[in-house]
Assembly symmetry: C2
Homo-oligomer: 331 residues x 2
């Protein structure tokens, strides 16, 4: 009897603190997922072992065998070369030139496809949440940092150096606060979670009163996006103002992208948006409209993704399925 053709896909989101993997069926329905911590300080080999375990455990959890997996798609937080499958540069992992595809394929004996993590999030949101329709689509992901992904002519746009979508380092306030990249006034330095938390900590150290002190039990190192949500719900004027400012900056960044690319849909995701959509989205949208040129926003939708941290693994599965289909067509 002929063996059944493998018809499941695994998407992996490799982050600085955790690795998430998910198994998806042929129609990209999620079957099950698994999470482990990254432990990046142990170095690339140890992290690759942990990715492997995370994938195998997710597959086992679904009562599947690895040979039922057609392919794996994995998103890494940095500059990657999808052709070679190498991670060129990933500051949060302290990786440079890691042959991720080759190492995983050797151990898994399945085809592995590597992409930038935010590119995969955009791909997942576009293909599954938005049914592959909007074109162009811009995905912006507000987390610790800010990343993005572009869908143009129905496909991921990664450009000449495969680095397109680095919207977080678009300068919008040239004299603004210093960014982790060394420049001043990047979008990420104005509206990323790390910059928001830093601003709050500085203000509190200077005597600013806020409910966050109580919410975090006096230890602002314990701040989470959810803490901000609680403080806003309770009417904390300081936190409301900080998030309003971040929303205005985000709206200006969205307007810049609308002016440059004329998208049909701008979709916002990431941990900050997941927690603060109600507070942020209306002001982002209002600001984006007021900063965009006449005629550029007609019919344009600015929306929030509701895939949460499934965006990356979904995008990984989308990539894995697309590459498998391409391989079977060309063979």
């Amino acid at each position: 009897m002929a063996q059944t053709k493998p018809n499941y896909y695994v998407g992996v989101d490799l982050g600085g603190t955790k690795i998430l993997s998910g198994v998806f069926d042929e129609s990209l329905n999620p079957v099950d997922k698994h999470k482990v911590s990254t432990k990046a300080r142990r170095g690339p080999d140890a992290v690759i072992q942990r990715i492997l375990r995370c994938v195998l455990d997710a597959v086992d959890e679904c009562d599947l065998k690895i040979d039922q997996i057609a392919a794996v798609g994995i998103g890494a937080p940095g500059v990657v070369n999808p052709e070679s499958g190498k991670v060129i540069f990933a500051p949060n992992l302290a990786w440079e030139g890691v042959a991720l595809k080759k190492e995983l394929e050797k151990r898994l004996e399945r085809p592995v496809h590597v992409e930038n993590d935010c590119n995969l999030c955009a791909l997942g949101v576009h293909a599954v949440e938005l049914n592959g329709k909007p074109d162009p689509m811009i995905g912006i992901f507000l987390g610790t940092g800010i990343g993005g992904g572009l869908i143009i002519n129905g496909a991921l746009h990664s450009g000449f150096n495969r680095t397109a979508g680095e919207v977080g380092h678009m300068v919008i306030d040239v004299n603004g606060p210093k960014c982790s990249c060394g420049k001043r006034g990047c979008f990420e330095a104005l509206a990323g979670r790390a910059s928001i938390f830093r601003r709050i900590q500085v203000a509190v150290n200077e005597g600013q009163k806020t409910m966050l002190t109580e919410i975090t039990g006096g230890d602002l190192a314990q701040l989470r996006s959810g803490s901000l949500k609680k403080a806003i719900k309770a009417g904390d004027p300081f936190v409301i103002k900080v998030i309003e400012e971040a929303s205005v900056y985000t709206g200006i960044a969205v307007a810049n992208l609308i002016n440059i690319l004329s998208p049909e849909v701008v979709v916002l995701g990431g941990g900050v948006m997941d927690a603060l959509e109600d507070s942020m989205l209306p002001l982002i949208t209002k600001t984006a409209h007021s900063y965009s040129m006449a005629g550029t926003t007609t019919g344009v939708k600015i929306i929030a993704s509701h895939l949460g941290d499934h965006a990356g693994i979904t995008g990984g599965a989308v990539l894995a399925r697309a590459e498998s289909r391409r391989a079977s067509t060309s063979s």
Copy 2:
């Protein structure tokens, strides 16, 4: 005897002050060109008559007849709908909803194709000056204002609302000087000719000494890009500083676009670049490299176009030829 198939193309650049038309042969070699003033204050009908005269005079100058012209491509300074051929909004002409294609086709009895002027400049530079090769390519045109055009996957990227490429209204200094669009710190308000001239006039009124006073015979309303070139050549420290600042802002804008789109080539054109390439390009390039993310600039070329004010008419001819070929293939 069968009539010869029309195999010439006319490109038209409709500007706020002048109309330029050029006749090109089947291989896009320029044959001849003609220029008239726009006289926008006389209203759309009068301007359309002047476009018509400009096209017919250019054709006559080449000893051609209008039925030897396969098609006309025209760039308008504003938001256009290439499908309907309407100019939706062109502030420099005070036009709203002008049926440019329809009116010109009625009078010329030849197919007319309408695009945004900077999109056509990018198309002309890409197809003729750069042999259709770089992909993606970003064209940035520094004139009175600043516009741009994007080539992605070998074709003009105009996006969902056909408005892509409005790079001049990308905010890069949110608290910066006011822009003609009403916002603050747009790239155009920092590095466009009008903003550079305004800054010079304000400084001179406040007592700043500069050779420009002498070069313009004491009337700074007579400032031209060429006046700046003369002052820089003579070592005027004030003008050197003003142009250095504009170059740094331009470099930051280029870096933002590299981070977002990962182009292979960024090409700079327009009257300001035509006059000041030697002073500006090295600093633009240096700044762009320092503001771009690691890995995004490998192999990327930042260059100046040398098509000058032929970029727009060349792009018009490129569009006209492409549309004619498409029509003959599909018929």
